[in-house]
């Protein structure tokens, strides 16, 4: 059967414009219900008087809070650097042709992914109980002078992150077609050159987006180190409310700052993923000149 198209279809405007979406009325009703519910909730919270918003806003730019914020950013950045570098090393170890090396990598990932991060942090903080001093020969240092709360936090977060990054990097390496390394060895590149110049630059496309995700997670996970008093945002917040008992007001301060950090980080992630649609970005990051 043939569909006949009216001859004058091109001259005639399409009906009277765009067709109307079905369910417009329903959509408005649902919107109204949600807005009303949120308003009621907000009103209850504000009007109850249980939260002193003056205190919340008063502490928002408090110097101790800002110090904590800087420490949170430092811990996030340094832990991610430790995590990424060690993660790459573990991923390369995982595909080693020496079984003992790949087994060591698997053991590391098993231990550090299989135990809670909080437990690991407390463990590093108390490492002096196991190894009171470290050193070689006559140079002996009491470990308590090395493992400050900051160092323990960095160890805990970084070593834990490395286990997750190892899996991410390994997936990235696996995503590169085996023909790439065959072509690379066929022109005489050695193992290290194949990895650094051919495989890792192409694996970045797969590695970058989940790494951005991990970084956002890390911003929030740093709050765990408050249990060892590492002076980051949550520790500082707790210090203040231990003195003035305005617990909720100060937790709101911390939460708003965490929201600011994760929102900015998500924007950066969005931008990164957009750029990585274009393979040129791989080259920029890998530092390969055209």
């Amino acid at each position: 059967m043939k569909n006949t198209v009216p001859q004058d279809i091109r001259e005639r405007p399409f009906l009277s414009g765009r067709p109307r979406a079905l369910g417009r009325g329903k959509r408005a009703a649902v919107t109204a219900i949600v807005v009303v519910l949120l308003l009621v909730l907000a009103l209850r919270i504000v009007a109850s008087g249980a939260i002193n918003w003056q205190i919340t806003f008063g502490f928002f730019f408090h110097s101790a809070i800002l110090d904590g914020l800087v420490m949170t950013l430092e811990l996030t950045a340094l832990s991610m650097i430790v995590g990424v570098l060690l993660g790459i090393a573990l991923a390369v170890m995982a595909i080693s042709r020496y079984p003992a090396v790949s087994a060591a990598s698997a053991l590391y990932v098993w231990v550090f992914r299989g135990t809670p991060l909080l437990v690991q942090l407390i463990f590093w903080f108390n490492i002096a109980l196991v190894f009171p001093v470290v050193g070689i020969g006559p140079w002996q240092v009491p470990i308590n002078s090395l493992v400050t709360p900051f160092a323990a936090a960095l160890l805990g977060l970084g070593l834990n992150e490395a286990a997750y990054m190892a899996e991410i990097v390994r997936a990235g390496i696996k995503s590169v077609d085996s023909g790439q390394s065959e072509a690379a060895v066929s022109v005489g590149l050695n193992r290290r050159q194949v990895m650094n110049s051919v495989i890792l630059p192409q694996a970045l496309k797969v590695i970058i987006p989940p790494t951005a995700n991990q970084t956002i997670g890390m911003l929030k996970n740093t709050s765990l180190v408050s249990v060892i008093g590492a002076q980051e945002l949550l520790t500082k917040t707790e210090d203040i409310y231990a003195r003035n008992f305005q617990v909720i007001e100060l937790l709101i301060v911390a939460s708003l700052w965490y929201l600011v950090l994760t929102t900015v980080a998500s924007a950066v992630q969005f931008w990164l993923e957009r750029r990585f649609g274009d393979s040129r970005a791989v080259e920029v990051i890998a530092g390969v000149q055209p």
């Binding site: 077609d177 023909g179 790439q180 065959e182 072509a183 690379a184 060895v185 066929s186 022109v187 005489g188 590149l189 050695n190 193992r191 050159q193 110049s197 051919v198 630059p201 192409q202 393979s279 791989v282 080259e283 890998a286 390969v288 000149q289 055209p290």
Partner: protein
């Protein structure tokens, strides 16, 4: 299958003549599946040898054994008298250090069915990468050399293009340039036109033809009977993991003496 000890060497007289490429008694099995049984092939300098045969005949595996992408289970490969991938110490055969194997591989160019261009690099960088990393050329010199080799395959206009911006035929020409730039003693082609749209086959074959005309030593696994007839000196027909028939291309392709060769040729014509 007769297992040939790994220490088999070319006989004394043959070694003196020293063919550019000498593969002797190559055997290879994947698990219990025997892919190659006692395959030997000598290629003289400047000679072009085509290997034809049905899929699964072991011809690609044989090519991959030559530059040790697959490690042969038996037999050995010599390029200009140097044994590839192994060395004998006190009568025991050892793998060579990976740096030595890398140097040996650099002397053998390989062109793949699926091109395998480095996806993150432009055409000129694909060619220049090994010049810089393996031949230790300065960046600028490597780039100039890469451009001139690209020009020889007609791809200099696309030097700044990425593989994803090139057609299959163009990618394969860049891949040939990448192999040629290393000045290999022998070029190995693994079904270089099998992944191409029919209208793109010609441009790759003509590049290969001109390489042959310049005296490049080539081993070509192919289904292009026309190319084998016109360009190659010798054609080898493989089936079931061994060489069934070989000889002058015109003779093997025109008046094959083996029934299996006849049957294969009649199927693909």
């Amino acid at each position: 299958m007769t297992v040939v000890p790994l220490s088999v060497r070319p006989a004394e007289g043959e070694a003196a003549m020293q063919p550019t490429l000498s593969a002797r008694h190559i055997g290879k099995a994947f698990g219990t599946h025997v892919v190659l049984t006692d395959v030997s092939l000598d290629v003289e300098r400047g000679e072009v040898v085509c290997i034809i045969g049905p899929s699964g005949s072991g011809k690609s595996t044989f090519l991959r054994c030559i530059n040790f992408l697959e490690v042969p289970d038996a037999g050995g490969v010599w390029v200009e008298g140097e044994r590839i991938g192994c060395q004998e110490v006190d009568g025991v055969l050892w793998e060579v250090p990976s740096a030595v194997l890398a140097r040996q591989r650099a002397a053998m160019g390989m062109v793949f069915q699926r091109f395998n261009l480095f996806g993150h690099l432009t055409a000129v960088d694909n060619v220049a990468l090994a010049l810089r990393l393996v031949k230790r050329m300065p960046r600028q010199q490597a780039r100039e050399r890469a451009l001139s080799v690209l020009a020889s395959v007609g791809m200099d206009r696309f030097a700044g293009h990425r593989p994803s911006q090139l057609s299959g035929g163009q990618q394969q020409r860049v891949a040939i340039a990448r192999a040629v730039a290393m000045e290999p003693k022998v070029l190995l082609f693994d079904e270089p036109t099998s992944a191409l749209d029919p209208e793109l086959v010609h441009e790759v074959l003509s590049v290969m033809g001109s390489l042959a005309g310049q005296g490049m030593t080539m081993v070509v696994v192919t289904h292009e009977i026309g190319f084998a007839r016109e360009v190659s000196n010798r054609t080898v027909f493989m089936d079931g993991g061994s060489i069934v028939e070989q000889g002058q291309s015109a003779q093997v392709l025109g008046q094959p003496s083996e029934a299996r060769t006849k049957a294969f040729l009649s199927k693909i014509k």
